[in-house]
Structures are given as structure tokens and as C-alpha cells.
Symmetry: C2
Subunit: 669 residues, 2 copies
């Protein structure tokens, strides 16, 4: 099994695409800016296990400010190792080495590694699995160690981590002396499956599978739900609960309200949900391709599929964001997708959409279907990329589709809970692993292209033959992709994703014969009969005209947005000074033509801007004096305006007042 | 100051109006059915202070099942006394006498009366003002005693209650030995102001004013917020909280997040909010008309006005319901008004709309403006009346505008928290007090008519002259109202409400001269120059054509409903068997004509049904496979259907599957 984090270096990006530009910015700017944040905040030195003043701060319960520091450091190391593989950087290398040495020194004699439970509450290890992110932090350490192992080609970091995994393996499991527990915040499961894939550690596999199978058991520990049992051990009143639990026993917050196989809808904290499902997909994939037997594999595959379908069809924003509710950073009921705080919520956390990309990549590896890659791309170019400023120094954690006085369209340098910024960097570091999958059997090689850009794939087969494929395109601005295949002796099938919005408009040059290709579940497969003859060929994918989009009618939003290819657009106050009230009174009409304008950002990045007519409803709608009932004809007295739209991922880079909206009112034609 | 509960018996209903029918049903059926519930559940005997098995049930915290029993009994006594005044009923009279005797016997030597804190937790009086409804129960006892005093014309019940009020007056106040507290659930404030109005008890007035002035102080008790201080006294962990508190310190739940004068928007539990504001309006009115001085009276009046405006303009359903959120039975953010559980919520508690009627009545008494009476009527004929079945035996607590599998359109016999059923009966018992206000000055009498129906007003002036006014109408089905004034010597001004939906279409017969009338803030004033000449006259109010209505555009609902006069309509599955999915896929178009049909319910009650064309969107909208983005043209492939609508207040009386909806999708014209 080949995870993106393991095979990303088969891909090299080149040219001036959106993706290569961001990788360049992260390598040259972002990694250093984040390292500086680690140093300024105390994170860099935390594994020295000295007391830090912030540890005295008891104002937050149950999660103190420093609880995720281990993972912040780990995610930065992981990102750094990916980018070191791209291009050596002595200062980054030095920091990684220092950090790893500190982590090694922080390991306790029995293998345990965790800052909080070594320094702050040394007697309370494993006493609050629900809230305290101990296993989450361990998971990120595993991922960091795997990245380190891959780049440095030594076990300096991996060995202590394997020792830690052994300790965890002893601690959790089915025997009476073990805790029948699982992490409140899933993450370690996918880290463990990856560890297994790299090292064949049976402990890692068993532990991950145990966490997934035990999760949500109503009677796992002494006849009780584990989280209830451990709260009782902590002598907590049953009505004592974190702020994230709206009511007592809100175990759905961390997807532990029932066993995974019985969950019908995706619930709770959105990052936890997609991390968990990624691990389940890993387990299914290991059954199909990794030689691990799994009881009831179809039920596990169906659970992931069912929850994915619920998520993308009923709980996802048009930008690929998920999570409507701030309190639990997660899902509301089906179709509950208000687009901003003033409408009742919108969270759309950056990490959640990164998790969706991970999950989609796993699903694509055993169920090639463009509906997964469409969502992966939607997330990448919209909810994920909008979370970093063009200068690579600022980030957003929540990504609303409509700003308001309370939540303006802005970004921050850093967060006390800093999960998102290093998640962005590690995603972009391993992004090559998301572009394509290589499938190799004894006689055949297939390359499934999920994302178009400008990059080169170099793959070595089991027989040590080299297969390489180059794609050159100006994606996502146009749909022309030139491909250049090189393989020594093998026949290669190339499968090209046809995004749903292209409606199967495409043209291959040179034109293939009917027998040379087939289309299945949104992928066009070019057979060896074609690729053996045509090493250089191109595809032109259609559907790049700007188009009006809307959310599902059951969202009760009568709204229109505009998309072009995979890019969702927004309006910003800086382009549209006539607007007021965060574009709340602006309507689009779907019959109105949209024109394109070639534009550049201040840093030279080109993009396609859009312009159309819109209608500004009379201002007095907001001055409500009429009570709850409106005459149905109100709101039609509007004035025509010219609207300028910019890709959502470029929002908040050009000053302005932070007024932005993706979905506008849908005007009557 | 004359509260509806004090002057309702100046009004006698007659004829076969919607209102008189319901009063008849309550008198003959409902009071007995509720009495039977009191007896079956243990409430009837609770003041005997014996142990009841339910007191052992510790599964609910902090509010045990029996906590409101005192108020349930009190509200039934209050209702019973109002209806005894209408027509004597020996069994009801007997029950009232028995209950009052039991309450008298339950009084402790110091005056204290409370079942829970006498029987279950006798050492913990006043230890949890936030949650335990001790003062709320006391408030309802006061109201019951006032009703008893009015009907029985003795002090058998009122005397012990006055003693209890003295105890409370000693307990709460500004001095160091007193608690600087106020009730978590307001109610006692308005009861105390009414007690003052009847008895001139200074203790009652002072106590009510203190509760209002102290509420929300951030540092009232030893420098702390009272509710935080008392939780500390109870040794509660700061993160221990009732399920109704979504996060710790959610003191907005009970309008105690800041002093009332500083509150900018109406928040939290909706019943508490409107009960509280009713008391504030009482206090303002007592300043203007009751001879009580109040510091900063304009600020108090402005606070009520500000919060009323916020409520009716931004937080009220088209049916007069308030409260979108189930968890705290209260308000969401501005314009957050989903219409059912499947859309993200809708509570619209019966008691809350009854509270709005109380508040509107108080506001009308010092600020005559038809915007208040329009809302009062909207609540009465829609959210309030829909809460009782036609047979008078079943009730609803929440009144959603759209039902779903989770919350069907049904009613129940009773509730463990049974606040709503007896609130309906006491409202209808005192309803005469809401129809009109009589204003008397030395030389003038004015009668302000807020609600039209068929009823007679008989008023005795300070000089013991009789003024009477009869109105006969078929309201709310048509707008013709015949009036017949009789006064001995006084000149009488009659002010007639012009509902906003009549758009000032009216005709007075005989026609008044221009000098004979004026219109101000939605009331048409007929001067003595007219009424001295024309004792019998009539008004025909227009606007009874069925009309399309919509919620505010900022609710993000692109929806249409239909209203006729004050009546809001709904669709039910029983009339529209072609529908599926709770009318979620049905669209109305505002250009489509609506026809009327004279109909009768099985019990003989006539009503006007409506019929129009509607459009059923193709069913596959609900089968979402396309991900979060819809082609903007989806949803237009519809089939035309004929829709039958029935008044919302008549829903769920004719069988069917409980599928009902008020607001339908708004189709493109």
C-alpha cells in the first residue's frame, strides 16, 4: 500500500502552476515562519521537559493551551522532511535534527513520549482518552518519524517511536488488564496503518484495528461506555463536560456514540470524523491489497461509503468545507449549511478539508471513481487553499462562505490551537502523492491521473523498470493537458479523470480509435493499444466556462454562486465598493452572462477574474419593522450593479474591509 | 392598573365565534381533563407533603420531574376560578376548595410554600435560584391566589400567600444579610406587580422591582454574578451545568448575562424572556399610571421596546411562534428561523406565544399601536390556538411550522413538564381582558378595541356610571363588525384597530364626517361627536382576501405561505395525498390565484379552506448523489398539483400521518 506520504517524491512539480507556486512559497517562506512561531511560543523547546509559564494557566478545561504542542512540532517536522526531499535547506535540516534529538531525550524509560503527561500531570497518563489528545499527539509523532525515516534514511527518530507504539500496544487491547479504549480524536489509527505499511509492524496494525473495532462500544469497559467509565474514574459529575459537549453524553462529538459499523450519518467534530474514516479506508485497502485479513470487510467498506455519501451530499459546502457548527467544530443535521455566523453558523475548518483529501485519496486507491477526485480537487482549490495567504505567512482556521461583523474574511499569523497551519504545509509537501496512483500487476502498469497540473511522475516497477509520465497544463485555468509517457518495456494504461462539471466534453489528440479507450466512473482509460503508439498526446477537457452553482434546495438557501472549472468564486468589498452589509442584499440571476478577465495578483500570480451583473435589493430590507410576516413581493425593488468576482482561494489578499460572500441571493429572472 | 386577569369579567362572550367555542370547550371538557391529569399523576395531592415515588427518580438533573407541580396546580386553580366566574361548576369549585386547603396546610410556620423543598430537599431552600424554579412556583401561587380572591371574594388563599411574599421579601434584597438574587425563570415579577395592583402591597412592589433591577449584575453577590456564586456555594465544578446550558456561563439562557437595561437583543429561553419583559412593561406602566416612581423610566421602556422590536422583526415565525432552538427552548441569532427539526430547529413553545400576548397587552396599555395588537392576534389565532385539539383534550408544547419523521404534527394528552396546557386554559379564562382597554379620565372615557369577535363589554366608571359596548362579528372569517354603544352621560371615544394587512381599507357605517375620526398608529378613533349621535354603527375591515406571505429574506428561506386576515394556513397530508416527504418538495407561486371554500370540521365548526395550484419538484432532489454543488437549474422539473390548505390552528384534528407544512418553497414565476 502506498500512501501519498510515502510516494509523493515520485512526483516532481515544475512550471508556474498554482500548486508549484504554493509549494515554492511554503518551502521558502512558510516553513521558516512556522518555525519562528514554534520558537516564539515555547513549542520548539517543549520536549526539553522544562516548565513553561503557560502550564500554570488553568483557565481552559479540559484542554489546556499547550496540549497539542507535541503534534504541532511533529507536523512541522513532517512537513520539513517532505520539503527537504524537494530541496535541501540547512536551517530547516538543523531544526529537524535538534527537535528529533529533544524528542528522543524526552522519551521515558518505558517508551512514553508526551509533554503534558510527563511535565504537567505526570501521574495521570491515559486517564482522559476522550479529551486529552494523548493518542492524537502520539499519532502525529509516528507520522513525523515516518517522514524523517524516509528523508534521512535512518531510524534515529523511528526507533524510539516504535518503542512508544509497543507501550501503547501493551496498554490498549482486549485483555482484562488492558484499557478497552480508543482516542477521543482519531489520528493515530491512520498513522499506525502507515507505520505498518512501511515497517510491517504487526503491533501497529493490531492496535489500529483494535481502536477502530472498539470505538463506540456501549459496554466496552466493565459494562460501560469507555468514556463514561473513565469519567467515573476521574470522579467527574455526570453533568460536568467540556464546552464542546452541548449536552451530557454527546459522544457523537467524537464519533463514539455507537460502533462505526452502525453509524448511519456522519456526526460531530468534522476533523475527527474524516481522520477516522481515512483510517477505516486504510484498513479496507490493507485487506484488499495489503494481505491483512479483516472480518466483515464489506461492512467496513460500506460504512465508509455510507458516511462519505452522507457527508458530500448533505453536509458539505460548495467550497468543499464541512462543519456548520462552531461549538463542536462539526456537522449539523442533514442539509444544515448556513454560510456564515450571522446565518447560524459555518465552520469549514481547514484541517477537515485536508482530511477529506486524505480520505478521498484512500477511496480512490480501491474504488476508482471521479466523484472522489472531484471532491478532493474541490477541497484543494477552495476550502484548503483559501486558508493560506499569498505571502505564505497567514492562515485561516475556519473558512466561512460569508463574512460578518463577528467573523470577517481575514487570516491570522498563528493560533493557540495551531493544527491547521502545519497541516497545510505537510499536505503541500506530500501533494505529489495525490496527483496520481500507479497500479502495478505482474504484467501491467496503470496510471490513474486524479489531479491535473504540471508535474512529472517517475515510477520504478517491481522489476526495476522505469515508467515516467509528464503532464503539462495551465490547470485549473484551462483544460488542455499535454502528456508524455516513457516506459521501457511495459504496457501502460493511462486513466484520465473527467470532472463531473466537464459533462464528458473532452478531446484527445491524436484521436484514439474506439477500441483504444473506455470510460468508467468518470475516468477515461487509454489502453496500451494507444499509449504504445502515442507516447505524446494531449487531452482538452471542457466545461471551463463560468457557471452558476447552487447549494442543495434542502439547505433552504435560495442562492447562486459562480464556479469555473474546479474554482469557486466570491465577491469582495474591495472590488465592489457599492455593496454594504456583507453582500447580504445582493442577488444574482442565472440567465445573466458572465465575462472573464485575465488578472494578476500583486505577487504576479495570474488568475481569471469574473464579471457579471447583479442586483442590490433595497437597503430597507435590513431595517425590519414589519414583524415576522413579509408581503411576498418585498425584495424585488432592486438596482442593477456590476459585480467583480475573484477565486475564493485568493480572498483577503488585497486589503479591504473583510466583507466577502460566495453564495448570493438568487434573484427572480 | 388593570390587568386582563383583573378585568376579564367586564367582558362576556356570546355567539358562535372561534373564541367563544374554545371557551365553551375548555369550560366543559378541558378543565376536567386537566383535573383528571392532576389526579392521575400525583400533582393533585402533592401539597399533602407525602412522599411520592417519583421523588426517588434522580435521573434528571438539576430539574427533577416533579419540580413544577406547584405551578401546575396553581395554574389550574387560576384557570378554574376564571371559568367559575363564567359559569358555576360544582365539581370544579370543590376541587379548587380542596386544593387551596391543601396548599394552606402545606405552608410552613415561617410562611414558606414549596413541595420540593419541603418534602424532598428540606435543607436546601434558595440554594439554586438559577435552576430550581422556587420563585417561579411562588409566582404562580400568587397568581392563583389573586384569581381565587377575585372569584371567591375572600382571603382564604391570598392571606397565606401574602405571608409567603413577606418571607420572600425578607430573603431577597439589597441588605448584606439578604440574597442578591432573582429567579432563573421569571414569573414572580409580574405576579408581584399584579399583587401590588390589587392589594397595594409595598413589599410586593419592592420585591418585583428589586428582581428586575438586580438581574444580570456581574458582581451582585460578594463581587460575583449571583448564579456563579450560588454554584460555588453548592460546590459545583464550573464545567458542571444543566443540559440547557450549551456552554458554561450561558447565563443568557435565563436573560441574566447582563443587566436588563444593557441587553441589546432578546436571548435565551423564550418563555423566560417574554415573562420577564411583561414584568418590565408592568413596572413602566405602574410608573406612568400607578403612581409608583421609577428611576430612569425611559430606559426601562426603551429596553422593552428594543427587545420587542428585535423579537418580532428578527426572531419570530410567521405564526407568532418564537424560539428556534430546542436545547435551550429559545432564540437563535437574528433571522435564524428554520421551520422544523429537519431544517435545524423550530421550537415555538405554546407558553412563549401566550407570554407575547401578555406582553403586547401591557405595551398597548401605555403605547397604543396596532403593531402590538397585530402580533397579539397573530399569536392567538396561530401559535397559541394550534396548541389545543378541537376536542379540548390534547395539547402541543412545541409548534413547528413543518413536521418531520422526528417531530410529527401531533398533540399529547399531557407532559411531564406541563406548563402549556394550563397556560392555555388560564389565557382563555381571562381572554376578555385582552379584547379591549377602557381608559378613563375625569371627563372622558375611551374604549380601545384590540381584538374583534362577538362579545359585550360592561364597564363601570369611577362615578359608577355604566358604559357598555357590544361587538358582533364573524371575525376572523370576515371583517364586518357591528358595534352598539351604551353610556349614561359620558362621552366615549372608540378606537378601532386597523390590522396592518387591511392596508387601511375600511368602511364605517353610518359614514363619519372628516372631523369625527382620526387614525393614529393603526387605530381609528371615532370621536364623541360621532358616538354621541351613532350608538349603533359598524366597521367593515378589508384585506380578507387570501394572500401570499413570506418570512424575512434574511432567514435565507425562499418560501411562501398563505394567510387570510390573521389566520396563517398550512397543508396537511390528509388533504393532499399526492405529497411525500412532508411537503418538502412542494412549491407555491405568488402569482397563482387562491380560491376559498366554506368548510366545517367534524364538530360543526365552520372555517374557510383554501385551494391553489402548487408544483411538486421531481422526487430525486432528495436522493443526493451529486455532492455539494448543484447545477443552478435543478429543481425546476415539476408537476402541477392542486393544493388544499387549512388554518394552521386546525391542523392535526382529522387523522392523517402528521405531515404538515406552513411555508412552502417559492417557485419561479
Amino acid at each position: 500500500m502506498s500512501h501519498p506520504q510515502s510516494v509523493f517524491d515520485n512526483t516532481s512539480f515544475f512550471g508556474e502552476t498554482i500548486l508549484s507556486r504554493r509549494r515554492q512559497i511554503i518551502a521558502s517562506i512558510t516553513l521558516r515562519a512556522q518555525l519562528e512561531q514554534l520558537k516564539q511560543t515555547g513549542r520548539y523547546d517543549c520536549f526539553k521537559l522544562k516548565w513553561h509559564p503557560i502550564y500554570d494557566d488553568k483557565s481552559m478545561w479540559p484542554v489546556p493551551y499547550h496540549l497539542f504542542w507535541d503534534s504541532d512540532v511533529a507536523k512541522w517536522i513532517e512537513s520539513a522532511c517532505y520539503f527537504l526531499q524537494r530541496e535541501y535547506d540547512a536551517s530547516i535540516d538543523l531544526a529537524v535534527r535538534e527537535l528529533v534529538d529533544m524528542i528522543r531525550d524526552a522519551q521515558q524509560p518505558d517508551g512514553y513520549i508526551n509533554v503534558h503527561y510527563t511535565v504537567v500531570e505526570p501521574q495521570k497518563r491515559w486517564s482522559n482518552l476522550r479529551d486529552m489528545h494523548e493518542l492524537y499527539n502520539a499519532g502525529h509523532l509516528i507520522e513525523a518519524a515516518l517522514a524523517h525515516h524516509k528523508y534521512y534514511r535512518n531510524n534515529h527518530f523511528l526507533d524510539p517511536i516504535i518503542k512508544y507504539v509497543s507501550l501503547i500496544h501493551c496498554t490498549f487491547g482486549t485483555s482484562e488488564a488492558q484499557l478497552h479504549a480508543y482516542p477521543g480524536h482519531p489520528e493515530i489509527e491512520m498513522a499506525l496503518f502507515r507505520l505498518y505499511s512501511v515497517t510491517k509492524s504487526q503491533e501497529a496494525y493490531e492496535l489500529a484495528q483494535y481502536f477502530l473495532q472498539e470505538r463506540g462500544s456501549p459496554s466496552g469497559q466493565h459494562g460501560m461506555h469507555y468514556f463514561d467509565w473513565e469519567a467515573q474514574q476521574r470522579k467527574e459529575d455526570p453533568y460536568t463536560r467540556p464546552n464542546t459537549y452541548p449536552e451530557r453524553n454527546s459522544h457523537w462529538y467524537c464519533q463514539a456514540h455507537k460502533p462505526i459499523l452502525e453509524q448511519e450519518t456522519i456526526e460531530g467534530h468534522s476533523v475527527r470524523a474524516v481522520y477516522l474514516l481515512t483510517a477505516v479506508a486504510d484498513m479496507v485497502q490493507l485487506h484488499h491489497k495489503g494481505g491483512k485479513t479483516l472480518s466483515n470487510p464489506d461492512a467496513w467498506a460500506e460504512a465508509v461509503s455510507r458516511l462519505w455519501t452522507n457527508m458530500v451530499g448533505k453536509k458539505m459546502y460548495v467550497t468543499g468545507g464541512i462543519g456548520a457548527i462552531k461549538q463542536w467544530e462539526g456537522f449539523g443535521c442533514d442539509y444544515f449549511l448556513p454560510t456564515g455566523t450571522h446565518e447560524g453558523g459555518c465552520y469549514a475548518e481547514t484541517c477537515a478539508s485536508i482530511g477529506i483529501m486524505m480520505l478521498a485519496e484512500r477511496l480512490l486507491s480501491y474504488d476508482l471513481d471521479s466523484s472522489y477526485s472531484d471532491i478532493m480537487e474541490l477541497c484543494l482549490y477552495n476550502n484548503v487553499m483559501t486558508a493560506m495567504s499569498l505571502d505564505g505567512k497567514q492562515f485561516s482556521y475556519i473558512n466561512q462562505l460569508a463574512s460578518s461583523d463577528i467573523d470577517k474574511s481575514i487570516r491570522e499569523d498563528w493560533f493557540w490551537c495551531a493544527c491547521c497551519p502545519p497541516n497545510l504545509t505537510r499536505l503541500f509537501g506530500s501533494l505529489g502523492g495525490y496527483l496520481w496512483h500507479v497500479q502495478e500487476s505482474e504484467t501491467k502498469v496503470a496510471i490513474n491521473i486524479h489531479l491535473y497540473t504540471t508535474a512529472n511522475l517517475s515510477y520504478t516497477t517491481a522489476l526495476l523498470e522505469n515508467v515516467s509520465l509528464q503532464q503539462i497544463s495551465n490547470w485549473p485555468w484551462d483544460g488542455h493537458v499535454s502528456l508524455d509517457l516513457s516506459s521501457q518495456s511495459r504496457s501502460v494504461t493511462i486513466r484520465l479523470r473527467l470532472p463531473s462539471w466537464c459533462h464528458e466534453q473532452f478531446e484527445i489528440t491524436p484521436s484514439p480509435a474506439l477500441d483504444d479507450f473506455s470510460i468508467e466512473k468518470g475516468y477515461l482509460a487509454l489502453q496500451p493499444s494507444y499509449t504504445n503508439v502515442h507516447k505524446k498526446f494531449s487531452i482538452s477537457i471542457g466545461g471551463f466556462e463560468p457557471r452558476y452553482i447552487s447549494p442543495h434546495p434542502y439547505t433552504a438557501q435560495h442562492a447562486l454562486g459562480i464556479a469555473r472549472g474546479p474554482i469557486v468564486y466570491c465577491m469582495e468589498d474591495t472590488d465592489n465598493p457599492w455593496q454594504h452589509n456583507y453582500f447580504r442584499d445582493v442577488a444574482l440571476k442565472k440567465s445573466e452572462p458572465i465575462s472573464e478577465e485575465a488578472k494578476s495578483m500583486a505577487n504576479g500570480e495570474d488568475y481569471i477574474g469574473l464579471r457579471t451583473k447583479c442586483w442590490l435589493t433595497r437597503e430597507d430590507i435590513s431595517a425590519s419593522t414589519a414583524g415576522p410576516i413579509f408581503d411576498a413581493s418585498i425584495g424585488e425593488d432592486t438596482s442593477e450593479k456590476s459585480a467583480i468576482l475573484i477565486p475564493y482561494f485568493l480572498r483577503a489578499n488585497r486589503g479591504g474591509n473583510g466583507e466577502m460572500r460566495v453564495l448570493l441571493r438568487r434573484g427572480e429572472e
